[in-house]
Symmetry: C2
């Protein structure tokens, strides 16, 4: 009998019946529930890394897997006990995060906020705008999200270049960024936040982007030096679509809100109604693998 822990009753319902699996419900806050010491497979939320104490984790003597449901796991990566595998939610948020990235890019290029304001005023006022056709898009990160963004923008006439931590065929190295950035109109950040990628997008990175270029961040706010970005936005030299910011939530008096040429959404890339259904489809598959002693998918601990 495998014992797993999920954060709430809705999660248990989304998981459904699984033969030979005992479910403990706990969201990582408050007192440890009965049975936590039997848990082998912990389904953790992004935020529970901050609430599950080291002492409680140490008391989970049978723990073998921490399965996080977000793509990013940086809040958990330093908290994993020895011998425990950390898995992320790769694939759970890929489609919806890529959708938001491209929707944000096209909203800016095609001036959808302006046309929406015209709609509110009942005004029909066509005019030529920018668009993705012919644009050169540099995607930093060649994982699930990056590949989906590439497929869509290619369909809209853009040309894509990939950069990633592990260079390979058709994927350039991070070290090549200084020569690649000046030759691209749009840069999409789609890599995990790690010590190596912290503030990857700094003043020098932004300065290498050509006039009028667009930065897109749908990964983590800490990948970007916010002050450096604000400086480039207020002069009007760059534009940006940001689903994530640093800090987050963005305080009401932060200069990013009022900067020109920026579109901001409040970290909703993966936040669609179906996300939990997708997440627990992954969890079910992982538990079946775990039960059979098969290798797990989405193991990220050794990636850091």
């Amino acid at each position: 009998m495998t014992t797993i822990c999920v954060p709430d009753a809705a999660a248990a319902a989304a998981l459904g019946e699984l033969a030979g699996v005992d479910v403990v419900i706990w969201d990582g806050t408050g007192a440890a529930p009965v049975g936590l010491d039997r848990v082998e497979f912990l389904v953790a939320t992004y935020s529970s890394a901050a609430t599950v104490s080291a002492e409680t984790l140490a008391g989970m003597v049978r723990l073998q897997v921490i399965q996080v449901l977000s793509a990013g796991v940086e809040a958990w990566v330093d908290r994993v006990p020895a011998g425990v595998v950390l898995c992320n939610g790769r694939g759970v948020h890929g489609a919806s995060t890529a959708e938001l990235a491209v929707a944000g890019i096209s909203s800016l290029l095609r001036e959808l906020p302006r046309f929406h304001a015209d709609q509110v005023d009942h005004v029909w006022s066509p005019g030529l705008t920018d668009g993705l056709d012919g644009k050169r898009v540099l995607i930093v990160g060649a994982g699930d999200i990056g590949q989906r963004v590439a497929a869509a923008v290619t369909a809209f006439g853009a040309a894509v270049t990939f950069v990633a931590r592990r260079p390979r065929a058709d994927v350039h190295a991070i070290a090549e960024l200084p020569e690649l950035l000046p030759r691209h109109d749009i840069v999409v950040i789609a890599v995990p936040h790690t010590p190596q990628t912290h503030r990857l997008v700094d003043a020098a990175f932004l300065a290498a982007m050509p006039d009028g270029a667009m930065l897109v961040n749908i990964a983590r706010g800490q990948l970007v030096d916010t002050d450096a970005l604000v400086a480039e936005l207020v002069t009007g030299r760059l534009q940006a679509f940001l689903d994530v910011t640093d800090p987050e939530p963005l305080p009401g008096d932060h200069p990013l809100w009022a900067a020109p040429n920026v579109l901001i959404t409040p970290h909703v890339g993966g936040g669609t109604h179906r996300w939990e259904q997708r997440a627990y489809r992954l969890v079910r598959e992982q538990i079946v693998r775990f039960d059979k002693g098969e290798p797990l998918e989405n193991v990220v601990l050794d990636g850091y």
Copy 2:
């Protein structure tokens, strides 16, 4: 020496130098210019169909080709003299029109206007929204625009079904719409406006769509019965993204403006800065074919 007619000096500049080609500039309004009787290849704008008189057309005794730069040619189709070939701008607007279609769909599903209003108010207020992942998308029209929309929404996790005037492998017949409509969440209209497709989307078509479904029209307003659509929108049963309307421009007092769950853009699907560059790349290629006696691309007259 082939003589061609283009609408303005900007068009002549976009066309560039072509050996053995004489260019006459005329936009179809005012008096016929010197040399019009020598023109073999007429580059026509969408609106010039209304201004070039039948008498003037009859006087163009050497005319062999009318090349329209829009995807739709319904304004020209009844005006083509005997023996003259009518070509459309297929491919010129495909990428940008598909981009706008998908941007409109995602803007509605992901509630981008609401997040933009929050941005204006400096408010960070995340929440779950709808999204394309898992959606069933019915695309009416399997041409360039439809194929590009399909590629993008598939990348975002949606499943696509095609319907077209000519059924073929993986493309259903228009006659199958009554059984297909109830099984789809989003219907994208991407067919030309012809007598056969006039008001294809009528009250019965809309009634067959399930509750909460979305109609997307990026083709021509006359493909949709506007009154029937308004009726379904005001009850809140359907939602819509419309880049084209009937009538167009939409008058300020039209009920469509104030209907709930509708996003309207003013017929800007193909209207990006690069459209003329793309259009005259096509025109150049067509003129080279014409000069060599090769078959032209995008011949649509016999398609009507």
